[in-house]
């Protein structure tokens, strides 16, 4: 039975404390819950990997610190979700991160998209943050105590990420002609991947019925209420694009994930079984 009613203190929760509590627990997630956690973990992990690429490359030092911070938070969320997911499969966070192949990764395609320029990164991060804020707020009330605890902690962090992105969308949209053009283009590129975040799928729906998962389509109104007005208020135009076919939750990916994983996994795979 995965959805225990035990209260888990969210402030102290870390990947290590999760691993420790699961090691001595008979209350492990079932495969459906673990698969759901895996998707959430992969979203955060792949996004963190992309954010890490910015470090020592940002437009100013303050932004090096900020993007690094957001990436670190995302990596923390990933580690917690993956640790929890892995407990159902007898795998550690690292076995999941480093020894699965591309079709086994369940992240939405938005997160694997290349950074592009700073505006494109901000467009992606803004869409991601709006999604995470709504998702984690909902998930904090999950009947699954562990998912609820991880989400409650993450919800506070993604609030800051969203604020950071909103500030930049305004600055780039209203700043100069060039920044406006780049911000518009960044939105156009990333917009195509936004819809996938809000599409329901059968495995998630069955967990929604149990009060464990958050329905992706239920997050859409929060996105629609916030993002188009922000875009317009920033002197930009809401993109009109066709959406991508998606399929990340089923292991279907764009051409960007493979190279990302190849780089991320290269050293760990060169030394199978080693500890670091």
């Amino acid at each position: 039975m995965s959805h225990s009613t035990n209260h888990i203190a969210s402030t102290a929760i870390t990947p290590e404390s999760i691993a420790q509590s699961l090691a001595s627990s008979s209350d492990l997630p079932d495969v459906a819950v673990a698969t759901y956690a895996l998707g959430l973990g992969d979203d955060a992990l792949v996004l963190a990997q992309r954010l890490g690429e910015w470090i020592a490359r940002a437009p100013e030092l303050e932004e090096d610190v900020a993007l690094g911070n957001i990436g670190l938070d995302q990596l923390g969320h990933a580690r917690s979700f993956l640790t929890y997911a892995g407990s159902a499969f007898g795998k550690t966070e690292d076995e999941l991160a480093y020894f699965r192949d591309e079709p086994e990764f369940l992240n939405h395609q938005l997160f694997e998209q290349p950074n592009g320029d700073f505006a494109q990164t901000i467009a992606k991060q803004m869409i991601a943050s709006v999604y995470f804020v709504a998702l984690y707020r909902g998930l904090a009330a999950s009947n699954d105590a562990m998912l609820a605890a991880i989400a409650a902690k993450a919800a506070k962090e993604v609030d800051y990420h969203l604020d950071h992105c909103v500030q930049w969308v305004k600055r780039l949209g209203l700043g100069t002609a060039e920044s406006n053009r780049r911000m518009q283009r960044g939105l156009e590129v990333m917009w195509a991947f936004a819809d996938e975040l809000f599409r329901s799928d059968a495995p998630t729906d069955s967990l929604v019925a149990l009060g464990i998962a958050v329905s992706p389509s239920s997050l859409r109104p929060a996105f629609d209420a916030l993002v188009p007005p922000l875009i317009v208020a920033s002197g930009l135009t809401v993109p009109v694009t066709t959406f991508t076919r998606g399929g990340g939750r089923a292991g279907l990916h764009s051409e960007s994930l493979g190279p990302l994983l190849a780089e991320m996994q290269v050293l760990a795979r060169a030394h199978p079984g080693a500890s670091w």
Partner: protein, 334 residues
């Protein structure tokens, strides 16, 4: 009315007043040094003191910023998620250290744009150690253990430096550096407890970083002409050779715990001195790297320049936005 005479008289009076102020300021400055107190930005200070500090603090800031690169090289490929998180946090700390240090230098009257410009045009110096490359994961361990370890030996005395803003920045930086050193040691320890390939990786990396880390303290005392004045100003507290000795004495027992061999045939305990003896360093190598002919000098500077130039439009947008906001606030007030 003879304006020329008036101007001359005024100028003379001004010069005299300035001289009196300087004399009082100098007395107070010397008193501050004698009593081991802090000099603050509003205090009088000799031009040489100001210049020396600007040079040292900005170089120190540049070292933090350039020092992000050899480690960011492994963020994407870190072999575990925990190591990835620690490495990201560490590189982020370095950006933070750069910011504190630039802020400290700014209190001496130099702006960040000027310092940054000196860095990306290759005019400013930074610690030569960051011109070495990081081909293996074990280099993340060696940088933490050896490079940050040497930096700590250099920097702990700087917490008591006479210039207040610099000393206070160093207190915070040293706390974080000691965490960095520990995590570097831990990386190497994990490798030395691992597979044969991991042990070999660790030893090979220590072989490459040991001598350059010892050279981080600068040339031998007899070849370090600026040291004496810096010591008189309470900027430098210990000589290059004293600090180097302290570092070697600290390293040897740690190397034993790790099980790595320090690549120095002359390294042995000297009972009489109460210190470890160590071999001569190849100072021609040091001067080569200092002269720009290290493994990565050009790469480091051009990567920072590229980031700065690629970000120009972002900074310009932020400025334009801030100006427009200020303008509209003024409009509201009027």
């Amino acid at each position: 009315m003879n304006t020329t005479t008036d101007v001359t008289t005024d100028a003379r009076a001004d010069a005299r007043a300035a001289q009196i102020a300087d004399e009082a300021g100098e007395r107070r400055f010397n008193e501050l040094l004698a009593s081991e107190s802090r000099v603050e930005p509003s205090d009088w200070m000799p031009e040489g003191y100001r210049k020396t500090l600007i040079r040292q603090i900005s170089q120190h800031g540049h070292s933090e910023i350039i020092g992000m690169q050899p480690e960011s090289n492994w963020i994407a490929r870190a072999p575990s998620l925990k190591r990835k998180a620690i490495l990201m946090a560490k590189v982020q700390d370095e950006a933070g250290h750069g910011l504190y240090l630039y802020s400290a230098a700014q209190t001496l009257g130099v702006d960040r744009e000027t310092m940054f410009d000196q860095l990306i045009t290759g005019k400013a110096k930074y610690s030569s150690i960051f011109n070495y490359t990081t081909p293996t994961w074990a280099d993340m361990g060696s940088i933490g253990w050896l490079v940050d370890g040497a930096a700590i030996c250099n920097q702990v005395p700087l917490c008591r430096v006479s210039y207040g803003p610099y000393g206070r920045a160093m207190v915070r930086i040293c706390k974080e550096e000691s965490f960095h050193q520990r995590q570097g040691f831990e990386i190497l320890l994990e490798l030395m407890r691992g597979t044969d390939a991991q042990k070999e990786m660790a030893q090979e990396s220590v072989n490459r970083w040991y001598a350059p880390a010892l050279m981080m303290f600068g040339p031998p005392d007899e070849d370090s002409p600026n040291s004496k004045q810096s010591m008189a100003w309470n900027i430098k507290r210990f000589s290059n050779d004293d600090l180097r000795q302290r570092f070697v004495d600290m390293l040897v027992p740690q190397a034993e715990i790790l099980g790595v061999t320090l690549p120095d045939a002359a390294l042995r305990w000297n009972e009489e001195r109460g210190h470890y003896d160590f071999g001569d360093l190849d100072w021609s190598e040091f001067h080569e790297v200092l002269a720009g002919r290290g493994p990565a000098n050009t790469i480091r500077v051009s990567r920072r320049r590229e980031a700065h130039e690629n970000g120009a439009w972002v900074r310009e947008a932020a400025r334009a936005y801030a100006d427009a906001q200020a303008e509209s606030r003024r409009g509201l007030v009027a």
